[in-house]
Symmetry: C2
Subunit: 117 residues, 2 copies
DNA sequence: GTGCTGAGTTGACAGATGTCTAAGTAGGCG
DNA sequence: CGCCTACTTAGACATCTGTCAACTCAGCAC
């Protein structure tokens, strides 16, 4: 029994925060994504993955960027994966991570407040 | 000795996640904001405050929307305040909350991935 | 003043979270 | 096959977090 469902379909509903009160079920999904980004290490990992020149990046390039052990980095990557923010793919010896850009875009839209003059 | 500084000046630096790797100090600030939004109750509170018709909303209108005690709502509002996401203002008997829209806009920009084709 | 009501603070406690070490799995190479 | 490297999983542990009950503070009315 998983303590938290993996967000495979990246719901992230839609309506910007500022437009209308977010219903509870949508809030749970969006909050889960923000929670995953709520750790400095994970935010940096997500940034490194999202901004990777090749569109993806190897764990072996992520780990040495932090003064943390491999298992700890692996744990943070798992959290990002379960939040639907990144996807991973093993090719031979190495594992490559890439960002789920549509989910990032949806989250960005939720925070959008531009209509304010 | 506060365990965490209050983010008064709403740093939130600038460069979108996808543009370049976020430096550690900026990541700490942005992550703190996302962390505050990483709880479903707080996200709904933020949404109710941001979407309030009058631009602000009374705590007395927030509390009954949840099956939680007053102190718990008060705690969540404090977290949102310390993250620089909302501001409060006591007028007479009631306390009014309004959103810090510039900070929300900055966070939205951090997640922006539009340049992707 | 006393009393009432809205909101915040304090202290306590169960449960979640970040980190590590140790062990396990997957793939390449000799 | 064995061995090495890259990564993940499992357990343990200290810290942090969300919640509540009890209390305090601020403002209004009498």
């Amino acid at each position: 029994m998983p303590k938290q469902l993996t967000v495979l379909d990246a719901e992230v509903c839609c309506a910007p925060l500022a437009t209308a009160a977010v219903p509870a079920d949508a809030a749970a999904d969006v909050a889960a994504a923000f929670k995953a980004m709520g750790d400095p290490v994970r935010l940096q990992l997500l940034s490194m993955i999202t901004s990777a020149a090749a569109g993806e990046i190897c764990v072996c390039d992520l780990t040495p960027a932090f003064e943390l052990t491999g298992p700890t980095i692996s744990h943070h990557l798992k959290v990002l994966r379960e939040a639907g923010l990144v996807e991973s793919d093993r090719r031979g010896t190495w594992v490559w991570y890439r960002a789920n850009r549509s989910r990032l875009a949806a989250l960005s839209a939720v925070l959008d407040v531009t209509p304010a003059d």
